[in-house]
Point group: C2
Chain length 114, copies 2
DNA sequence: GTCAAAGTTTGACCATGGTCGTACTTCTGT
DNA sequence: ACAGAAGTACGACCATGGTCAAACTTTGAC
């Protein structure tokens, strides 16, 4: 029996702004979002570049999922993650783009001249 | 001597995204931003519609000012507040607009049909 | 000069949330 | 069937930050 290993995925439109901001404020969670948006394919939980333990990572993935930011599904024993880009943008237009842009601007342009 | 009652106003471009999000995550602080963006003129600290004590409000205003979101100056014994719209938008394009839009969507459209 | 108004500062309290270790579950390969 | 891999769940710990009360400062008005 597949059981209900597939966790619930709320509609981003039903999520209050407060919850979304609380999800995006944690640096490790933003790192997850950044890596998802930079990578073309979905990523397994264990394949992210994070410096935290597995149990902490699980916590972060759940917060992101419940905030409508990521989708999770099983591929064998791995739990895959993908960004819910369109659905989230539809509920919070411009928000993810603004956060990602600021995030990349801080960590991104190595060696840029003013 | 006017003394240094005028607190420091950092350049929004020097503020990390983390600090901005921490400023925007508090509902009372978002209420301040919303009221500033909805009102044409500047607003004194005591003239906001808030349900917190003065000392707590002072704390929130400081957080917003240090995050580059508001400008403060004295008018007599009142401390006036204004939104640093352009400067902030220049540093974090689209962020304030996205947050304000989501904020107003939740509390705003009274009586709207689907 | 005195008094009230408007904010600030300080200190304390407390709830929230990120963190980890440990134990547990579920699936895959052999 | 068994072992290992990949995550999850639970509990505990602890730092951070919002909150208030009380005392203080500064300004404007009379």
């Amino acid at each position: 029996m597949p059981a209900d290993r597939i966790p619930p995925h709320p509609d981003p439109r039903d999520i209050p702004l407060q919850q979304v901001l609380e999800a995006l404020i944690e640096p490790a969670r933003r790192a997850i979002i950044e890596q998802l948006s930079a990578h073309p394919a979905d990523i397994a939980c264990g394949a992210f570049d994070l410096t935290i333990t597995k149990s902490t990572a699980t916590h972060h993935f759940r917060v992101l999922r419940e905030a409508g930011l990521i989708r999770q599904y099983y591929a064998g024993t791995s739990r895959m993650n993908s960004l819910r880009r369109e659905e989230f943008d539809d509920a919070f237009p411009g928000l993810l783009e603004a956060v990602l842009r600021a995030s990349l601007r801080e960590a991104g342009p190595r060696g840029m001249r003013s």
